[in-house]
């Protein structure tokens, strides 16, 4: 049992899925010989052959549309979009077909496909390589949206996504692809796709986030703890369907909540969570629900990208704001 990174957790789960399920096919641009631009599929084509790991022509609509067709005809396509920004041409087939196949045919056909791609900013990448579009996909009926934030959750949730009989969008926080190493046993154990992960128990405030923002959120929590604040941290991980219960229960104890999201604020996932608290959680709120988000602007080119993303200081300041209230 070795300590591995998040991206290695992805590779491990892909290899296991290719091993255990002959219908699994990995496809995308540069996923073959090159092993993916981030090396997520490194070695897979060599190990499983060109029939299982396919380099495709450069056409995202085609990748999405063919994945829908393959999935409906008994295969389990695991498509890769090379970067978050390049999933936009895929929206049509996801929204109009992947999420509708089962419902449209009253269960006669289904669409057990996975679309995985690196998401978020902070790695110094060019334009269109640093977006966080989870809210767009979360608004689409019939599609699950998952974002892991640790090597073990990457492994366990990706296995669950692949085995799930319905379409799953699996977003990989590229900024923390190689941040932490963790011992992960390749035992094929999947993780549930319908509950949040509580990373830290606390009683004064609940910090809710997902993906790469876990990093700054943990750092902010440490700082707050050093001030004597007891912080509960929830990693949403499964954005859609969303486990609001765990969040509402947590806030029912802490009474205070800050939601941290890298994506633009307007109509983002953080807003959905805050709205849930404004409904089911209202009676336990001791302070306003604050959202610390990316701005409603275009993600800047890399020189200013970190100014766009929620910083530890922005998170701590927001926490102080809601803690001051009594």
């Amino acid at each position: 049992m070795a300590a591995i990174t998040l991206i290695e957790g992805v590779t491990l789960a892909l290899a296991r899925a290719l091993e255990e399920d002959p219908t699994v096919v990995v496809l995308g641009e540069d996923v073959g010989v090159n092993g993916g631009v981030f090396r997520a599929t490194a070695g897979l084509q060599q190990r499983f052959g060109e029939q299982r790991v396919l380099d495709t022509p450069l056409a995202e609509v085609m990748i999405a549309g063919m994945s829908v067709g393959m999935a409906a005809q008994g295969m389990k396509p695991i498509a890769e979009a090379q970067f978050c920004g390049f999933t936009m041409p895929m929206v049509d087939h996801l929204m109009c077909h992947a999420g509708r196949m089962r419902n449209r045919t009253r269960g006669r056909l289904s669409c057990p496909m996975v679309l995985r791609f690196p998401t978020g900013g902070g790695i110094h990448a060019p334009e269109h390589h640093s977006e966080s579009p989870e809210a767009l996909f979360a608004h689409m009926p019939g599609i699950r949206v998952v974002i892991p934030s640790s090597p073990s959750r990457a492994y366990g949730l990706l296995l669950a996504a692949i085995r799930d009989p319905d379409p799953v969008i699996f977003m990989e926080p590229k900024r923390i692809y190689r941040w932490q190493k963790e011992e992960v046993i390749d035992d094929g154990e999947e993780l549930p796709m319908d509950v949040c992960f509580t990373l830290r128990d606390g009683s004064d405030i609940t910090l809710v986030t997902w993906g790469a923002m876990i990093k700054e959120t943990l750092q902010a929590a440490d700082q707050l703890e050093s001030e004597g604040v007891s912080v509960e941290i929830i990693d949403v991980a499964t954005i859609s369907p969303l486990d609001m219960d765990t969040i509402v229960e947590s806030v029912s104890r802490t009474g205070r909540c800050v939601i941290i999201q890298e994506a633009p604020r307007h109509c983002g996932v953080a807003s959905e969570i805050a709205a849930g608290l404004a409904d089911a959680g209202i009676w336990n709120l001791l302070a306003p629900v604050k959202r610390v988000c990316g701005y409603d602007t275009v993600m800047p080119l890399y020189r200013n990208e970190l100014k766009y993303m929620p910083s530890v200081r922005r998170i701590v300041d927001a926490a102080h704001q809601v803690l001051e209230v009594s």
Binding site: V68, G74, R102
Partner: protein, 366 residues
Amino acid sequence: MARTVAAFKVDHFQFLDRDGKLVEGQQVPSLAKDFDRLTDLYRQMVLTRIFDKKAIALQRTGKLGTYASCLGHEAAQVAIGAAMQAEDCFAPMYREYGVQFCRGVRMTDVLLYWGGDERGNDFAGAPHDFAWCVPIATQCLHAAGAAMAFKLRDEKRVAVSVVGDGGSSKGDFLEAINAGSAWKLPLVLVIINNQWAISVPRSRQNTAATLAQKGIAGGLPSIQVDGNDLIACLWAMEKAITAAREGHGSFVIEMITYRLSDHTTADDARRYRPNEEVEEAWREEPIARLRAYLIDQGVWDDAKEQALQEECTANVQAAADEYLDIVTNDPQPVTAMFDYMFAEMPHDLAEQRAYAEQYPEDGGHH
């Protein structure tokens, strides 16, 4: 002095002229003499047309929603259906009933779908065919995906999809051609060029001589046939499907026909096309043409026609009755909209379902 590195042509095939006579001076495929088969296919074409008429009548009397007629497409559609094997896979657009009846889709299914009931897409008779596909041309890539599945599993199955003259302008179709080329997929793409995309004439889609030549972009064999000539359509489909099944890759066929009806029952074609054009098109229509040929050949007559008309009318009526009985006496409950979203219903959706059950009648149905 240039070096020519690639040369192509698009051939047009027609065997039966508008009067049902065999076109002079060309070798006719043997199937032109397979009268049992031709009369069977003729029956399918007539059934399709009688069904179409009934569906429009149901819509006009408020018993059916918007409906897309297939009037004039019967030869193209029945040829496609007839050339396919049961295990092949068809990815339709929204008006290919003539194909689908050959494949086991029931007339009741069609009525349920246009009647606003998802159960119409639950084809018991064509279990792996794709559902009707409204987003233009997207079905072509689903067919390419199906073809990829067959190829990867080493199954000798072929995926067939259709697209209109309008849809042939869309990237999905063009990317499907490229995919068929890249992987030599067992894929047959049929352009049903009926001259109109709602109110937009073929000439506005592009200024190329043919639509078939879009297949040349991928280096695919690409031909054009008279889409009102069942023999030409069937001959071309069998040629294409055989090639695809034997591993020779994908094929593009443009079938030239005419949309004799309004685009759908929600459209009024008189707004944008001259009556003369439609009348002229009626002189080309596929059923009269094939009937004339069969009568010439002495294998069809008025008595048979009479009997066929009665038989089809009765079958169509039975389907209409079944449809009306289902939507009247066995409508889908409000919960049906939740029960097929996921294999396993998520927690939050279950909550919404329980809430929705408190409003079983709200909105009722139209």
